[in-house]
Symmetry: C2
Subunit: 106 residues, 2 copies
Amino acid sequence: MNDRDMPDQQQLKAQLTAYRQSIDNIDAALVYMLAERFKITKKVGEYKAKYNLPPADKEREKRQIERLRRLAEEAHLDPDFSEKFLNFIIREVIRHHEQIREAEGE
Amino acid sequence: MNDRDMPDQQQLKAQLTAYRQSIDNIDAALVYMLAERFKITKKVGEYKAKYNLPPADKEREKRQIERLRRLAEEAHLDPDFSEKFLNFIIREVIRHHEQIREAEGE
């Protein structure tokens, strides 16, 4: 690389800071969306516990994974990652639902 | 529970469907936000590789975790989960950055 093309320390830092501000904004949005998602799955857990509905629905999960993989492709996100992400979230939801059932003394 | 309070199958299904539609909407938003986040971290990875900057920044990660935990509390999301979530994302980012460095023959 030509020395003239090399940004100085201040320019490097400014560019990194700009990227990081965008990442931080997106992370805040993700946290608020996740909080809302768990509010809904908490209600689903309470509803299923109240009416004795089965906690897991494998068919529903399969459809969710297929849909998220399709959306990921549209968004140019790795579909495998979107599947890993959904499984990560679902593990947390199951943990919450178990807590709800335990709290209800089942 | 009194039989009169028990919703019939159709009502149960309609309520679950309503919850699931909200979950699906949020999941679509999450996928698109994640796609955007990885677009930026990809640029960061390329930038760091180009100018030979260190791939990881432990101080930055520490600040990110503290901030996300604070945002999670505001959003009534489990702060421990927000930290697990960020670590899950960062693992994926590191995987991408390693791919970028390998592709550049480092």
